[in-house]
Each structure stands twice: as structure tokens, then as C-alpha cells.
Symmetry: C2
């Protein structure tokens, strides 16, 4: 197994509603002819929106689940100021502000929003993790 | 907001246990001096292991949650044969086989495993989504 992650699938209630949210953030769908799924190129990986019940079925699992999903997607910003701007943008696009920007113990500035299905996004300025021009993080050893 | 995702945080019960699982898959940690968190470079993004209760606290949310988390990470393979090999490797490393490889309706071959906290990984051979040499997916328009 190579050390990588290639795609993240969010199991959503309504693909059109969820895709609309990401499109209002300025994201553009790829592979638009694909039915019953929405794909967004997200840097070198793919964010996929797929019906929650179908995702559970594909895995052979029961779809029931509630509460904190225990996972967060992160959008790292290039500047500290950008954190508040992205949170505002997310709320304007129909997301929910979960926690406004604050100074976190490790020296960064972060805030959280949720997408229409409650998936948690951390918007983070981390001065220790600079981004490449194309938005990738390359960690120090 | 740029169209990208930079980091995925898994809220785990025991970082050493979870990090050990990914290390047994051959993954190598970065930023090893960071305490209370484990970082793995995963292609152009980062997979981070962080205590579940701390993740909920950072977001200002209650940590309770159960059942299907509604999200799946995917590892796309370069060949169909690789799917079974990766599932076997994951089980040998201490993961749980959730669903053995099978031919899925969209023309691929997929299987699922869960990591020690139950986070779902889909191992997928998708002939429509070829990988670049460095393991990125670049979607067709």
C-alpha cells in the first residue's frame, strides 16, 4: 500500500442540495455525466458526494448513525485573515457556523463550519504547515 | 475559497494504537516531535490522528456519536488485483475486513476495511479514474 489517500466520500441526504453548497463556494464539478454521484477535484484528491444509504450498502453496513462522526476535513488557509473570510463564505453558501475563528493552543487560528449534512470542516491557519502554490501541504520530516 | 481539501483528521481513541496500524501498513509519520497528534503525509494532503474527545472540544461539539459515520476514505489502486492485496495487508496490520472485494455496479472492483476506530476505507479499482505516477487522481471534466 502506498502512503496516500485518493478520495473522500461524504454520504449525503440529497446530492443536489450538497453539491449546490460546494458550488456556491465556487467549486466546479467534474465528470458531470456521472449519475447519482457528484465529484469535485480537491487538489490531488477527489471529494465525492454520494447517497448515505448507498454508501452504507456498498460497504455492507447498516446506515444508522448519529451524533459526532469523529472526523473532520480541513481547509488550510494561506493567511490568518483568510480563516474568517472562508467561514463567512461558507455560511453565505448555506453552511452552519459551528465555531467562529479562535486562537488554538498549538499556535494557529481555526474555526469550524458544517456542510448541509453536518460534515465538519476545520478552517485552519497553521503557520508551521505552509502550503505549496497549488495548495498541497508538504510536511517537514 | 480554493477548490481543495488539505487535511483529514480522524478522531481516535488511542493515538499509539491507531498510528501503529498505519505504520504496519508501511506508512511513515512526519513531524514526529508533535505531541498528542500523529501526522502522515498522504499524497498532497495530510492524514492526522488526534484524540476524538479533543477534536470534538476544538469544534465546541459534544463528542457523543455512534453508528455509521457516513463518510469513507478511499484508496484507489492502480490495478484490480491490488484491491485484494491491500485488503489482506490491512487485516494483517490489525484492521477489520468489512466487505471483501466485489464487482460494483459502476464497473469497478472494490472492498472495504475499517481501521482500529472503525473508520471506513474503500479500496477501489476504478478504471475510469487512472492515477498519476505519484498517486493523485485527476478527474476528466
Amino acid at each position: 500500500m502506498e502512503q496516500r489517500l485518493t478520495l473522500v466520500t461524504l454520504g449525503v441526504k440529497d446530492i443536489a442540495r450538497s453539491a449546490g453548497f460546494y458550488e456556491r463556494l465556487g467549486w466546479v464539478r467534474s465528470v458531470r455525466q456521472a449519475e447519482g454521484v457528484a465529484f469535485f477535484q480537491a487538489g490531488g484528491i477527489v471529494l465525492s458526494l454520494y447517497p448515505r444509504a448507498e454508501l452504507a450498502k456498498d460497504a455492507g453496513l447498516a446506515p444508522e448513525g448519529s451524533g459526532f462522526p469523529g472526523i473532520a476535513l480541513a481547509y488550510n488557509t494561506r493567511t490568518r485573515e483568510e480563516v474568517d473570510a472562508v467561514l463567512t463564505e461558507a455560511v453565505a453558501a448555506g453552511g452552519t457556523l459551528v465555531r467562529p475563528g479562535y486562537e488554538i493552543f498549538w499556535g494557529g487560528y481555526v474555526g469550524f463550519f458544517a456542510d448541509p449534512d453536518g460534515f465538519l470542516w476545520e478552517v485552519a491557519w497553521n503557520p508551521m504547515f505552509p502550503l505549496t502554490e497549488d495548495g498541497a501541504i508538504v510536511l517537514p520530516a
